[in-house]
Amino acid sequence: MPEFSIEQERYELFEGPAYHFTPDRRDFLKLLGGGILVLLTLEPEDAEAQESGGRGRGGRGGGGQAMPENLGAWLHVREDGGVTVYTGKVEVGQNARTSLVAGVAEELRLDPKHIDLIMGDTQLVPYDMGTFGSQTTPRMAPQIHKVAAVAREMLVDLAAQQMKADRSALRVENGNVVNQASGKKLSFGELSKGQELSRTISANAQVTLATEWKTLGRDLTKVNARDIVTGRHRYSPDMVRPGMLYGRIVRPPAYTAKLQSADTSAAEKMAGVTVVHDGEFLGVACADSSKLAPAAAAIKAQWSTPTPQPNSNDVYSYFKAHVRGGVQPAAEVTDTGFQERLLSKLAALTGISLF
């Protein structure tokens, strides 16, 4: 029986981004439409340690206005006073959209309904390697906190200038900077209007202490819950692009089975159906996705029969028969050192330390 090879995960095949963002920061703000922009650069070791990597030559040598490299996140206080945050992370049911918005709401002392989070739209967001490994909260959330905290302080600076007030008298609440002495207030929109301010910060920006949190650590309704319960939210299968076809892959009946021949004539005769047969790849495409299953079923494919493999019924006996060093006697399972020995055995077998 053949040895099993471990399939590679997509992130293990990572090659590094093929391009780097190098727009001028002023151009960038013009594109977004004025206001205040805060960009966060990652420390090189941070960038290497996390999936938001994308190292390389950034900027285009335009003096201080060049875009920095290793951008982790950016935040835009729009001229209408709303806030848009951009991240390469995506929402897959882990509630990252809500938790990341909550961090921005906390730092900007702003109701989450005024915060838009653009996730994973690669035309708009900083480079990010992907959403996996429970990295959004430990890695991305602190970055988003920092850009939001710096944006808040920039708004306070602007308010201090415009009100000719001391910063220490100013307080940020509900989308306004309020002068506690005079009661005068300026909204985020009033402050950001006509501005083209941008600031690049590094990883050491000061964020609100957990003991002072007002939004975080409390229940918060999922920010796009209403879109989900009304069917308005568009998941990727709900999106339509011009000329788009739906596809279905014709799969082999067993792991490692090879395609030997395929009679696709019946499927090809079906109106609107395109058959794709390229080497070992076999599939059908059609603008009407209801035709995919019948079209795929109409293909008569011959596959090689692979060497017998364990299935879910006999996988345990397979393991017992193939464990390196043989099965330990049952008595050993009850002793106290069992767990440690099991873990070191697993580590020796797999190269992965579970300690």
Partner: protein, 153 residues
């Protein structure tokens, strides 16, 4: 083919044998009903036909002619959500939310027939709706909440 979807008369040029789900999603751009399995096993595609919850991926569109088709998009009236939609939000009865439209429509179908179902009746009526995230306990709670508050349900 004439179809009445969410109270609106619409003309479909689809083959009458095309399952209703694809007519709704790909012809009328009503993507609230989801494609899950395409085999009537998961409930993501649930819509109401004259108030009865059906798996739209298995219902030829011709069978929906002359009936009131209600999709998730049709439960909100003048900005006011159905009590079950409200309950789903309040109890956060979803994670990724992909099964949610089908869950809510199935729950609305149940409440139409049985406005005050016992928990066992909810479980029985909803057992054909699958949630991969495993939010079942809150879904059952949401149906109960809507039933309790629910003269509209």
């Amino acid at each position: 083919m004439e179809l009445v979807v969410n109270g609106r008369r619409r003309t479909s040029s689809s083959d009458p044998e095309r399952p209703l789900l694809y007519v709704l999603r790909e012809e009328f751009d009503l993507t609230g009903a989801k494609y899950g399995c395409g085999e009537g096993q998961c409930g993501a595609c649930t819509v109401l036909l004259d108030g009865e919850a059906v798996r739209s991926c298995r219902v030829p569109a011709r069978l929906a002619q002359g009936k009131q088709i209600t999709t998730i998009e049709g439960l909100e009236h003048d900005g006011k959500l159905h009590p079950l939609q409200e309950a789903f939000i309040e109890l956060d009865a979803m994670q990724c939310g992909y099964c949610t439209p089908g869950m809510i429509v199935a729950g609305v179908g149940l409440l139409k027939k049985n406005p005050h179902p016992a928990e066992a009746e909810i479980r029985r009526a909803m057992q054909g709706n699958i949630c991969r995230c495993g939010t079942y306990p809150r879904i059952v709670q949401a149906v109960r909440m809507a039933a309790q508050g629910g003269s509209h349900a």
